[in-house]
Symmetry: C2
Subunit: 338 residues, 2 copies
Amino acid sequence: MSSEVNRQVFIVELPRGPLEERHFELREAARPEPGKGEVLTRTLYLSLDAANRAWMQGATYTAPVEAGAVMRGGTLSEVVASDDPAFAPGDVVECASGWQEYAVHRPVELRRIEPLGPLTHHLSIYGGTGLTAYFGLLEVGQPSSGETVLVSAAAGAVGNVVGQVAKIHGCRVVGVAGSDAKCAWLTQELGFDAAINYKEGPVYPAVKQACPEGVDIYFDNTGGEILEAALFRMKARGRIVCCGVVSQYDTANPSPGPRGVPGLIVTKRLRMEGFIYADYDARREVALDALAGWAREGRLVAKEDVVEGLESAPRGLIGLLHGENVGKRVVRLAPEAG
Amino acid sequence: MSSEVNRQVFIVELPRGPLEERHFELREAARPEPGKGEVLTRTLYLSLDAANRAWMQGATYTAPVEAGAVMRGGTLSEVVASDDPAFAPGDVVECASGWQEYAVHRPVELRRIEPLGPLTHHLSIYGGTGLTAYFGLLEVGQPSSGETVLVSAAAGAVGNVVGQVAKIHGCRVVGVAGSDAKCAWLTQELGFDAAINYKEGPVYPAVKQACPEGVDIYFDNTGGEILEAALFRMKARGRIVCCGVVSQYDTANPSPGPRGVPGLIVTKRLRMEGFIYADYDARREVALDALAGWAREGRLVAKEDVVEGLESAPRGLIGLLHGENVGKRVVRLAPEAG
């Protein structure tokens, strides 16, 4: 069942421009042994996130990723052996084991999961993705029924959940995505009111057409040109939820900020606010109950994009940065998982 | 006492670059007569504000200023004749008569003032200036004792009041201003903890030195380089109060936005928020009571910069845009005022 070898993906060089497979290396080490009070886990699923690339740019809300180490990443894992009474073999836990098959953790680094559905859902709608969408939209964005919500990277992991939760709250929802197929999925499958393929032409006219009365909430996963277009289309007292900047991650030379900052913030009395879902940990259970309820009612669809095998993780992350995925991209490590 | 002539300053051409005196023209018209239900006012003081220049750039929170009309502006005026029972000759009112000696108003355009001190205080600490500082700092900024507050255009009308109110709330206050004399006034007279002359060198290193632990609240009156420096120096969960953008008003070509938007907003979970004091009208009396209390106790100093004569208004506004004033700049029209 569990081999004596621990396959690991190292980041061997930090990218100076776009991330490439040569920045990673698959290595084998001995399976680690848990020490006193520690827990040995086996990785079932690895979460791929645009933020993984941001960590390579320097300090964010967490320490930067440095070359020469196992690549960092969130995981859904199974306890193999435990010297802590709170965890037993077979328990499923959320942790950040990184890109490797086995890891040793202190108990404080683990959160036990009571499965609410397929395990992958704990990386999508019930994981950081779903909680980011939930708290960002509802707590930071403060939507009211009838308001217009614009969301970028709308077919991505967080964006599609934002749009679905906004629809549940009675909003008019417009998504921005990078292909006609993604746009069709958003409007035909998820019930978005409109979708814009930003690769088809200038963004601002398309946003203006799709949001004729302006935008109340812009949920920003991208920054860049889409943020600038949104700023110019915001209604007075609009809210911009700053969740991510994927347009600026895969580069060593981020663009200047959008025009309209701070001029339009002043004249339209906008609020732009950043957040991370961990700041709302006290209300995590409330959020999970709501998300699970909507999923049971069929109003919230979990869309996952599963990449097979640890060795595919570099290619999977690079593809994600190029907009390849629809929904939440995860890597399945253990063949028996899921 | 009141002549039959109404001297008026027109804006005859909208500036395409920096504002100049040639964009204005002093003209004489007949004194207007109030119609049924109307009130005739005589201007005592005219408020000069950086926003006057912003209005020439296009729509803001109010309609744009257009060429060929009396220049718009806030005023403190005296009722000369009234066909409304709520106003009587001699009443002092706050209104927006523009750059002229007499104006006819509907009663809804007037707010009667019960003088809390010298009349000019109703354009400085008890006027839009003081209320902007009060609501911006306290409601948008949400300061806590011990936090570091950085304020730009700190020797200007709003900035100096922001710093004083922040000191009253137990904050550490650092001002950014455009001359050593202004900086000395801020630290020696107003009790600021430090002041930075932004014309002396790059802003970021000076902000870093003056705010070694980072910035909790940045009250932004300028935008531009100072905003960018502040963004890079903000602490996690810091607040940027977007009040004005004076660095970008006196030009037809506003700069791109600062670097770090939205990247630093995401990673530091910042809040950037615009406001206008009129949005807080329901709490106006609470604010005025607080401001008047601090003034009586000698903890809040009203600093005014009085320009004499309507004909000096264009020069006064141009000078303000070049940072000439210390404190609130007003134009005194009636020789017997004050």
